[in-house]
């Protein structure tokens, strides 16, 4: 019996290698480009990045299924798997790698370093700190993309406009996410100018969130979210707890407002994705090399509000904000 199982496993492995080989040689014909999209974690903002990216490519004439083949992999927030995904794309000799979020971008950059495969990243808050770009914004190799740096000042300005009396803003973040840590620093530096004090609460896993939320909600007038992957994944829980205490939660991105944050001056990750897709198209068409394009930041953050949430909290959103809003939501989507 044992022998049979061993033989079966051996056969399966050998077959696997052969099959793997066969399928990929078939698709490497040059009429079609093959790109690998690696996404670090699974949540609304990053999913939007990916969808926007495909839309951006489409607008430039690369349509999935026609002249574009997409290999999509999600690392589910596991660093080792992100590395494996990147290596796999490189081994399959894709024409371009799109990497969503910092650890994925770094894995892809590292894996593709000694090849001619360009890497286009998105949702990397600080490409310079991540060493994907040099201090002057020029690429640190065959790599470029878009940054999702938060418009900190404008967010604080908006919170002040909505809550004239508030003194403290609570921010929850995971200590394991470098982008969040640097965003916290920025909020802390900017807050006094708007008369706020930042109360931070660091967590290490999703399991810490309920207690951290309870603790934080005791101490603050409102909560402000970052684009922290761990916290955003558990946002519904935080929103529930905050609603019980009638404390407003501000988002950092449109998806968060949809599911129950009061408002945000944030990026639209879909737009960010489109912008990234267009950069990728430029590279695929051979107009420019990734190493010749500086990374880009979306300048225009827009206001998004949720009137249903405002009603629940008994807050009236200032009229001029609502007038200038890119989109207002009337319901809380689950």
């Amino acid at each position: 019996m044992k022998k049979i199982i061993s033989v079966a496993i051996m056969l399966a492995l050998t077959a696997g290698l052969l099959v793997g080989c066969g399928t990929t040689t078939g698709t490497s014909g040059k009429s079609k480009v093959t790109i690998g999209i690696g996404q670090f974690a699974e949540h609304g903002s990053l999913d939007n990045c990916k969808n926007g990216f495909l839309e951006g490519l489409k607008q430039e004439g690369y349509v999935e299924g026609e002249n574009l083949e997409v290999k999509f992999e999600n690392a589910q927030a596991d660093g080792a798997i992100a590395g494996q995904i990147a290596n796999n794309f490189v081994a399959n000799k894709v024409d371009l790698i799109c990497a969503i979020a910092t650890p994925m971008a770094q894995s892809a950059f590292g894996a593709a370093k000694n090849t001619d495969i360009p890497v286009i990243f998105t949702a990397v808050t600080d490409p310079v700190l991540a060493e994907l770009a040099k201090a002057d914004g020029t690429p640190n190799g065959n790599v470029t993309g878009t940054s999702d740096k938060l418009p900190v000042e404008r967010q604080l300005e908006m919170i002040r406009a909505i809550l004239p009396e508030a003194k403290t803003i609570g921010i929850m973040y995971s200590t394991s996410e470098v982008n969040s840590v640097s965003a916290i620093e920025e909020y802390k530096a900017a807050a006094p100018a708007y008369g706020f004090e930042i109360v931070e609460s660091g967590i290490s896993t999703t399991a810490d969130i309920p207690l951290a939320a309870d603790n934080l909600l005791e101490k603050v007038d409102c909560i402000n979210n970052l684009t922290d992957n761990t916290v955003v994944s558990s946002l519904p829980l935080i929103l529930d707890k905050a609603a019980e205490k009638n404390i407003p939660v501000f988002g950092s991105e449109v998806e968060q407002v949809k599911i129950g944050c009061l408002a945000t001056v944030g990026l639209d990750y879909y737009d960010l994705g489109i912008q990234t897709g267009k950069m990728a198209a430029q590279v695929l068409k051979g107009e420019k090399k990734a190493s010749e394009i500086n990374f880009e930041v979306i300048e225009e953050a827009s206001f998004y509000g949720n009137t249903k949430v405002a009603e629940n909290l008994g807050i009236t959103l200032p009229e001029d904000l609502v007038k200038g809003a890119k989109e207002m939501f009337q319901t809380i989507s689950e």
Binding site: G16, G20, T25, N88, A91
Partner: protein
């Protein structure tokens, strides 16, 4: 394509083999399921990233992370031996503590060293190695380090201290009857094991170009799988040293994962594949019967 995948499998296999050698010491020799590995692997990486950013010679970081890994192993050992905490729990405690310690050491969850010199990417390699050979440099360096570490471990296991180490796992009473402190021997074993693991973390960080706090997750599973696969493949071949078997096991394990990906499995399914592979190997081996009996 197969060629690139092959190189990738060998690189990853050799890299994790260094860690697997450490796991071999605890799991096979000491019979100690040491979960602190999930913390010591990124510990080596954190130390390395910080030192390299500070301008320390990358070769020197190999030695420093090895030593710091040993310190972590000693702590796990002290928790177990001196505070009388069960082996599994000692590892879990150390692993949990190391998460915060690693963040403290690195200062943040992600430290990039792309622009710095590493053992894989430096001026000597760029200037003195012919271009045609450049793609094989990483593999060559990994092979050299892995073989050196294996030989050192083989040598150590032949020393008096090495014999005692092996005796503790097999028959602790014997060690006591020789008037030796078995607790001390265990601590020595854990120190060496975790030193190997931290060294692997150091090399991993230099190879990938950045330290990331989440890379340690599941390291122990990869290590255990490598040890079990390796020792089972060569179970009936007495000529092959266990340390060699572990290295082969690590490469076979990575080959299986690469095959799974090539077969179109999603990366998010990898943990399940690992689990199934693991179970398969355990079922084939006699080991299972022995352990189940021992539990009765």
């Amino acid at each position: 394509m197969l060629f690139t995948i092959g190189i990738g499998v060998l690189e990853e296999g050799l890299l994790y083999a260094i860690m697997a050698l450490g796991v071999y010491i605890t799991y096979k020799i000491l019979d100690f399921p040491d979960l602190s590995v999930d913390g010591t692997f990124p510990l080596g990486g954190a130390v390395t990233a910080v030192l390299i950013v500070a301008g320390v010679n990358p070769l020197l970081t190999l030695i420093i992370s090895f030593l710091i890994g040993a310190v972590a192993g000693i702590l796990t050992g002290l928790i177990h031996v001196k505070l009388k905490v069960r082996d599994l729990l000692s590892g879990i405690i150390m692993m949990t503590a190391l998460y915060s310690i690693n963040l403290r050491i690195a200062g943040k969850a992600n430290v990039a060293i792309f622009s710095k010199e590493t053992i894989f990417d430096n001026e000597i390699i760029r200037n003195y190695i012919p271009e045609a050979y450049q793609p094989f440099m990483t593999l060559t360096i990994l092979l050299i380090i892995t073989v050196i570490m294996k030989l050192l471990l083989d040598l150590y296991l032949k020393t008096k201290s090495g014999y005692l180490l092996r005796a503790v796992g097999d028959n602790a009473t014997l060690v006591t009857s020789l008037a030796k402190d078995k607790g001390f021997v265990k601590i020595v074993g854990l120190a060496i094991a975790n030193a190997f693991v931290a060294l692997a973390g150091c090399i991993y960080t230099q190879k990938s170009g950045f330290f990331e706090i989440s890379t340690g997750t599941g390291a122990i599973v990869i290590g255990l799988a490598s040890v079990i696969i390796g020792t089972n493949i060569f179970k009936r071949v007495s000529l092959v040293k266990a340390t060699t078997a572990v290295i082969v096991g690590s490469i076979v394990y990575k080959a299986c994962v690469a095959t799974a990906i090539a077969l179109g499995m999603e990366a998010s399914d990898l943990k399940l594949i690992t689990a199934i592979l693991f179970l398969g190997i355990l079922v084939i081996s006699n080991e299972r019967k022995r352990r189940v009996k021992a539990n009765d």
